[in-house]
């Protein structure tokens, strides 16, 4: 059998961490090959080795049977492989057009900006990405940025493309467009490696799948005939049941309320009330304003009009500390941006909101901090060397769990989580959704903003937003089709 790409017995260590321990993968010519595994299994590390960003400590990489080019020869790598990295490689201070054609603005000689913009617009049009090519990439939403990265990677004309969790930040229609594109590339004979924590996507788009666990290769099999449970079993090393949303009866007390909230360009005249023991979903397609609304509830944004009440306390608009003091916990949309301080430890990141309660006279007792962190690491099953490891060194999903830990650390009575399971593996997803439900069972009320319909299943009701307004309050028991129709504005 001829493999288009092969990695053999790759070992990669980061200090004491072994990210890859003799892992191998072999991808056949022209197939779309899934790589799955729990957070921290070593997937992204393999990606950086397959794209020549990092050297492997041991082992080898082959392209079409030939040894990989030297690390310094970036052009040779770029001819062989294009990649959407998990971590953004967008340069915020440059325009979208320039980001799309970075380091290939011209074949030589003077850059013709007008032509470049036209090419960029054309490229984005083929993906139906509606952004101004002259906007600065830093001004785009997380989702738009991701689309730009995907468009860029696919535009190289490389015969091998790696997509590391491209859909973690995309909503349904965008994912559909991506898949359509991937199918047509496959018809042209392009080989792809696809990483995702959404296993149904793996079944939808891939032909075979490789599972990594604990830095090792576990199994490679065709997707057909590999049952969902078997796959999850291979990833986790144990039998895992699908997540069952729990039934509850919400209380009467309103723990989180917004009245008459408006923010120009984002949302208008929104009222909402979350009761104790209730999970309220917030759904909507791109630009519906759901994230902006959620960020207003937690104080990250200041509304033009309206008030937010947490636990009966009217919080100062646009003031996070006053919302936290009133008993709120939240998970922001972008963990890299607002979620964690990369150089600080897991323990420290998780306990910032309760730093005042971990010692007397303004001190923070390191032992109490560590004890609290160890408990959170246990609860949320965070894979880390210990509470002292900097969060910047964790894998994406584990960093997300740390952000979650920070939201839960003060036992909040109101919880706002935005795309909480972005980039989180199946089992961790259950842990995180379980953590939300646990908090709610302890009497909290929660708002869950998500593009992922699976996440929304834990909600007691889902508020659907469209063009900045709440258009419908959908009670539990909806089908995917119904909800999507409302989100697209097709049915009211």
């Amino acid at each position: 059998m001829k493999y288009h790409v092969e990695a053999r017995n790759v070992v990669k260590r980061f200090g004491p961490t072994v990210a890859l321990n003799g892992a191998s993968i072999a991808i056949a010519e022209g197939e779309t090959h899934a790589l799955v595994g729990r957070n921290g299994a070593g997937k992204s590390t393999l990606v950086s080795i397959l794209t020549g960003l990092q050297p492997a400590d041991e082992g080898e990489v082959l392209f079409a049977g030939e040894p990989a080019p030297a690390l310094a020869d970036r052009d040779a790598w770029r001819r062989r492989v294009a990649c959407v990295y998990q971590k953004s490689t967008i340069i915020p201070a440059l325009t979208v057009a320039e980001n799309l054609f970075l380091n290939r603005q011209t074949d030589g000689g003077v850059i013709r900006w007008r032509a470049l913009r036209a090419r960029a617009r054309e490229l984005l049009d083929t993906y139906e990405v509606d952004v101004d090519v002259q906007a600065l990439a830093g001004d785009l939403s997380v989702e738009q940025r991701q689309l730009v990265e995907i468009a860029r990677a696919l535009s190289f004309g490389a015969r091998f493309i790696i997509l590391d969790e491209p859909t973690a930040r995309l909503d349904g229609p965008a994912i559909e467009r991506l898949f359509a594109r991937m199918r047509s590339l496959r018809e042209q004979g392009v080989t792809m490696m696809y990483i995702s924590h959404h296993l149904d996507e793996v079944y939808e788009i891939c032909q075979s799948v490789t599972v990594f666990r604990d830095a090792r290769h576990i199994v490679t099999r065709p997707v057909a005939g590999f049952s969902h449970d078997e796959l999850v079993g291979a990833m986790t090393g144990e039998a895992t049941a699908a997540y069952q949303a729990r039934a509850r009866t919400p209380g009467e007390r309103v723990v989180l309320a917004g009245e008459g909230l408006s923010l120009a360009g984002r949302y208008r005249e929104v009222d909402l009330a979350v009761r104790s023991g209730e999970v309220v979903g917030l759904a909507g397609s791109a630009s519906s304003g759901k994230v902006g609304l959620a960020e207003t509830l937690v104080g990250l944004r200041k509304p033009d009009a309206g008030t937010v009440t947490v636990n009966g306390v009217r919080v100062r608009p646009g003031d996070v500390p006053s919302a936290l003091r009133a008993g709120l916990g939240f998970v922001p949309e972008d963990r890299h941006h607002e979620g964690f301080v990369p150089l600080l430890s897991v323990a420290e990141n998780a306990t910032i909101p309760v730093a005042g309660k971990l010692g007397r006279f303004g001190t923070v007792s390191p032992s109490r901090q560590r004890a609290r962190a160890v408990q959170l690491i246990d609860d949320l099953d965070i894979k880390t060397e210990g509470p002292g490891q900097p969060v910047g060194d964790l894998s994406g999903g584990n960093a997300q769990k740390v952000v979650f830990a920070r939201a839960l650390v003060d036992d909040p009575s109101a919880l706002v989580v935005i795309n909480p399971t972005a980039g989180v593996d199946v089992k961790a997803k259950q842990a995180l959704l379980g953590a939300v439900e646990d908090a709610v069972e302890r009497g909290a009320g929660a708002v869950l903003v998500s593009d992922d319909l699976d996440d929304l299943r834990v909600c007691d009701r889902v508020l659907v937003m469209f063009h900045g307004r709440v258009v419908k309050d959908v009670p539990r028991g909806w089908t995917d089709h119904e909800l999507v129709a409302v989100m697209e504005g097709i049915e009211q």
């Binding site: 996070v320 607002e338 420290e348 005042g356 060397e385």
Partner: protein, 330 residues
């Protein structure tokens, strides 16, 4: 449970060592110094080194905190001369070059610290409220504050000073100059404050990711403002110590210090990008610089070549601490 708590221990110790990458450099300097000059290792000489570095070390302490919180303050060096000069002029009679306000001489130190705090507050105001670049605001303030000393004093040295401002910089407590005690206590407070206090940890969070710090409920603006005010106050106190050591306030007091302050902080492991470094590390940086200067003075290296030797030693210290620390710097 035991495995979890047991494993991090070595890491912590390693992390602590990372702040102390200059310790080998200090040891080498001590050995080399002792070898080059018999006076060097005498307690008298080492006390002199510490006393000479006391004032500048307070600036390093201030700058380290400001850098850790991700900001920048160049104007500290001008405060060293201006704050005591203005404070003194408020209390001495017009005949001795003062404003003739007739305030009591005992007020001079509080006034001086107040002036320093006010400069810090003004810096903070422009940088935080107006969202201006810290580098350029404090660069302009470096020039302005120095001008605010030159203008009123007409460039003259103030040498008729109230005793109260001379005391701290020249007194000896328990056999050691008071300025060493003061710097020592403040550094101890800084080390503890940044390691074990909520407010100190907040500086790291702000410097490491200001948005995350804000989202975690830290009152970022308030903390940053406080740091600038504290920085200005420490610079004014450094001015008090320096004034006592020199017995007068020259119009150039503090001028040119800021480069050495940054050098000490950065070779001591404090990052210019914020969120990284410790006060203890900054202290080792101060010591390295003080020892190098002392050795060069003792050896009487020609004034022309002194900068070359001096700069080369800083580079070597940097390389040693890079190798000992094992991480790329920024």
């Amino acid at each position: 449970m035991t495995t979890l708590t047991a494993s991090p221990a070595p890491r912590v110790r390693l992390a602590r060592f990372r702040d102390l990458t200059l310790v080998p450099v200090i040891l080498i300097l001590l050995v080399v110094g002792a070898f080059l000059d018999p006076t060097f290792l005498t307690s008298g000489n080492l006390t002199n080194v510490l006393q000479q570095q006391a004032a500048i070390s307070l600036l390093v302490l201030a700058e380290a905190m400001i850098l850790i919180s991700g900001k920048f303050d160049l104007s500290l060096e001008s405060t060293v001369g201006m704050a005591p000069a203005i404070a003194v002029m408020m209390v001495i009679p017009a005949s001795a070059g003062g404003f003739g306000l007739g305030l009591p001489g005992s007020l001079v130190i509080p006034l001086c610290l107040l002036v320093g705090a006010a400069i810090g507050a003004f810096n903070g105001f422009l940088i935080i409220k107006f969202q201006l670049s810290a580098f350029i605001v404090t660069l302009a303030m470096l020039i302005i504050v120095h001008g605010l000393q030159l203008g009123p004093t007409q460039g003259k040295t103030l040498f008729e000073l109230p005793d109260s401002i001379l005391y701290l910089g020249s007194a000896v407590w328990l056999g050691l100059p008071a300025s060493i005690w003061i710097a020592g206590v403040l550094f101890a407070a800084g080390i503890a404050g940044l390691a074990y206090f909520r407010i100190g940890r907040a500086l790291y969070a702000i410097g490491g990711n200001i948005d995350a710090a804000r989202a975690a409920g830290i009152r970022v603006n308030r903390v940053l403002w406080g740091v600038f005010i504290l920085g200005g106050t420490l610079a004014a106190l450094a001015g008090v110590l320096e004034t006592g050591r020199l017995g007068a306030i020259g119009s150039n007091q503090g001028v040119g210090w800021i480069f050495m302050v940054f050098a000490a902080a950065v070779i001591g492991g404090v990052s210019m990008d914020g969120g990284k470094g410790t006060i203890l590390g900054a202290l080792t940086g101060v010591l390295v610089i003080g020892l190098v200067q002392n050795i060069l003075t003792l050896k009487g290296v020609s004034g022309f070549w002194q900068p070359v030797v001096y700069g080369a030693i800083i580079l070597v210290a940097l390389i040693i601490s890079r190798i000992a620390g094992g991480k790329a710097q920024d």
